[in-house]
Symmetry: C2
Subunit: 228 residues, 2 copies
DNA sequence: GGCACCCACATTTTCGAAAATCCTACCCTC
DNA sequence: GAGGGTAGGATTTTCGAAAATGTGGGTGCC
């Protein structure tokens, strides 16, 4: 769930390393994961690696087959659509609650998060990885902040998990340089509606935002990006 | 998540044993979990026990503190209300989708699940544990069946996790013999509305059903059941 | 030729002990 | 007496090897 500051135990490191390897595509969907390889990758013994895999499995990034080990969870259009549909439901409701309960401190954090994000270059394939990761971080922060005042830790946790899970798919679509979308504008609209306490419109804008991302990735899938 | 058929590895056994111990109250909320004790309880070495705890932590039954081990997740009114609120949202939508997509085969399974449950004695404190567990099982099956046609595996999985998590609380309320509720009737109303494809009413009835359970447990909490 | 069985190999899972970390209580200094 | 540092013991975390299990191929039988 977290990624940074997750380094007090070796198992935490292993989790971070493998998680990153899966998101980055170093470990491909469906690929079998051998302990020997992962031990070499993480530079540690089998125990923490196994612990990391158990955690990743609980979060849907890997799948486990008793006595036959683990493999990277496959990607599919069906799962993408499922994730997006569920996110629209959960984050939509979380945003509505946030707008209902959020105070001016929340408004401030929201403005700040959006500002920082908008000042960074838009995600593009030709940018250095470090900058892309930076944008990803700010983008995640913005969406986190949106729902942070909903007063439901469980809802927040579920949204967080789905966000990271969806991220595997979103990364595919980044390699398409132009999608004739103005993502910055979409974010702005969500924020403005939220600040104006216009819950219905804010939620609608958020759902639209996710649906567009889903559509972009779906197009990509049909061009065969999933099979590689 | 599962409990039965989870026995192909020792770690799976450990998970089942500890999970059961937490739900039954043998391991109390907030209690520190020492490996030595759990190894004795499960009859195995540290590795599978640790794996079980990692999984339980991912599902919210235990909490982990780096280098300080694990403890049973505490119960609180706030969490109960959060769980119930989220369940109403998730299962409500899942039921709506199920009603939209379910075919006659689904209707059949729903009727069957309800029938089996209604023929069993109502859960009561004075009944033998085996019978109570049987009723619990059928009750869970009924609710599972309700949403089983929603076509969203993720939604189903989340509902399942919340159901089990809420179960820890629900078990507290069972010890109160009479709550002036007709649970059988509540279930029947949900089913009838669902079969009549009356989504709005079915969802409303389901949410009411959960809210009443929550209210019952909440009353219990205020009488100090949480502190023991 | 097809099918079942069995053996050797590859891999995961589990064990028992070593290493690392945390907590407690004590001592020393100020 | 208060604060800080430090050994000792308890506990978790990690390691490396042993045990258990799945896999693939070869052999013999029908």
């Amino acid at each position: 769930m977290k990624d940074r500051a997750e380094a007090r135990t070796l198992a935490g490191d292993a989790y971070a390393v493998i998680h990153r390897a899966i998101r980055s595509g170093l470990l491909k969907p469906g690929q079998r994961l051998r302990f020997a390889d992962l031990q070499a990758l993480c530079g540690m013994s089998v125990s923490p690696v196994r612990e990391a895999l158990v955690r990743l499995t609980a979060e849907g990034f890997t799948v486990s087959d008793d006595h036959r080990g683990f493999s990277v969870a496959p990607l599919s259009i069906a799962e993408l659509l499922d994730i997006v549909g569920t996110r629209k439901l959960l984050e939509g409701e979380a945003l509505r609650l946030s707008i209902e309960h959020g105070d001016s401190e929340w408004e401030g954090r929201l403005l700040a998060a959006h500002h920082v994000m908008s000042r960074l270059p838009r995600e593009r394939d030709d940018l250095p990885t470090a900058i892309r990761e930076d944008w990803d971080q700010r983008h995640a922060d913005f969406h986190r902040t949106l729902i942070s005042a909903c007063r439901s830790p469980i809802l927040i946790e579920m949204c967080e998990k789905l966000f990271v899970r969806a991220d595997r798919y979103r990364r595919l679509s980044v390699s398409v340089p132009n999608q004739s979308r103005d993502v910055v504008c979409e974010h702005e609209r969500i924020m403005t509606c939220a600040l104006n306490r216009n819950a219905d419109e804010a939620v609608a804008a958020l759902k639209e935002h996710y649906q567009r991302t889903a559509d972009a990735v779906e197009r990509l899938f049909q061009d065969g990006a999933a099979t590689e």
